[in-house]
Amino acid sequence: MNPLHLLAFGPTGWGDELAYGAAMTLVIAALGFAGGLVLGLPIAAARLSSNVVLRAISGVYVTVVRGVPELLVIYLLFFGGGQFYRYVADALGYSGAVAADAFSAGVLAVILICAAYSAEVFRGAFQAIPKGQIEAANAFGMTRSTLFCRIKLPQMLRYALPSIANVWQLVLKDTALVSVTGLVELMRTIDVAAGSTRSPFLFYMTAILIFLAFTAVSNKAFEGAERHFSRSVIGGYGK
């Protein structure tokens, strides 16, 4: 029998299970990425602030998250989350079973990791804005919020875009690690399929091809975005 039958859709193959897993991977990656960017911006601002305490806290956060294996962050949130809920349940006098939910632990882990990496990207991008522009904006009498919204933020985003594309790749690949919690995303589905059909070669090859497809499509999308946001820049992208 042709082993590719195992990838068919319907009750005989793993096609629909894999599609569900792939969709779940994209959902975790998208939520983690969006949350990470939103959290990364204030962390970058704290890193650049004149307040010593803010600078120290954000600096420690970025160093710690980037210096610890992603797998360990996921274990801490998943298994540690259960322990944390246990404390809360005990404090409330509830003695029944409590467990951390793999989905929220996974998404939270990806958010925390993505925030640390994107904060560093944003920080670099803010610093890349020429000082003269900020002086010019001040000379025009712009308020701090106008300066931020019209001068700093748009340019920062343009500078940050290529590196943000890298962060997205990182997030997409880190999502595979969430499979260790048993959450049924792509990698977990692949593990189960590989084990139960005894065709690990076929299924791990499939996993690699699906991730490659995700990477290729997002590379193209980010290239398009870079071209779009650099269209008004003389000597910018592709000119």
Binding site: V68, P69, T175, F201
Partner: protein, 231 residues
């Protein structure tokens, strides 16, 4: 937070540290050698060879390390060709598979860093070296290499940190290194928060030392203009 459990877990966790360090050192070394070959292939000017190296780098960088580890350990073992080959005694071992997957992974990232470093040396300098009558070996040793090294060192330092963190994935294929030991200890003590935080502190300490070392090396290379100039 039970501090006694946190501090008490360090001796057990540290007993697994040699495995983590061994995985990191061996895969970084093997990966570096392969990275040099890949970078050479990309810059060789031979189109087929360059395309092959590019495809390799693209596939490795576009897929999760976890998928690569599982592919090497579980996937390849299914093939009869592998089971019957002389390589089977190697690929049968989880430890060897972890080393192979980690080395193959870091080689792809490393080759891009090396390639970028070599390409960062301005053409004019190589032309000037030619005009001075330096041989290709001398050009590489005295002009290209010292400057490329300076350009690639910070990025390679980052890659070393990523690799040290990457060794934690060996725990997913039954190897008891630092993360694997932490999982065992967490389930024995029912104190996952304390144990995983302690393991995280060890990784963090290693990475702080590692990045400090890389920065020292960078300073040395900047000051002396590269190792090759000293000889």
């Amino acid at each position: 937070m039970r501090w006694d459990v946190f501090f008490g877990s360090f001796p057990t966790l540290l007993s697994a540290l040699p495995v983590t360090l061994e995985l990191a050192v061996i895969s970084i070394t093997l990966g570096f050698l392969l990275a040099v070959l890949l970078a050479a292939a990309r810059l060789s000017g031979l189109r087929a060879l360059a395309a092959l190296a590019y495809a390799y780098v693209y596939v490795i960088r576009g897929t999760p390390l976890l998928a690569q580890v599982f592919f090497v350990y579980y996937g390849l073992g299914q093939l009869d060709a592998m089971r019957n080959s002389i390589l089977w005694p190697v690929f049968r071992e989880a430890y060897a598979c972890a080393l192979i997957a980690l080395s193959l992974n870091t080689a792809a990232y490393g080759s891009e860093i090396i390639r970028g470093g070599l390409l960062s040396v301005p053409r004019g300098q190589i032309e000037a070296a030619k005009a001075f009558g330096l041989s290709p070996t001398q050009r590489f040793r005295h002009v290209v290499f010292p400057q490329a090294l300076r350009a690639m060192l910070p990025a390679y330092g980052n890659e070393l940190i990523l690799m040290l963190k990457g060794t934690s994935l060996a725990s997913t294929i039954t190897i008891i290194e630092l993360t694997g030991q932490a999982r065992i200890l967490a389930s024995e003590t029912y104190a996952p928060i304390e144990v995983f935080l302690a393991a995280g502190a060890i990784y963090l300490g290693l990475n702080v030392v590692l990045s400090f070392g890389v920065r020292l090396l960078e300073g040395r290379v900047q000051r002396s203009g590269g190792f090759a100039m000293e000889g």
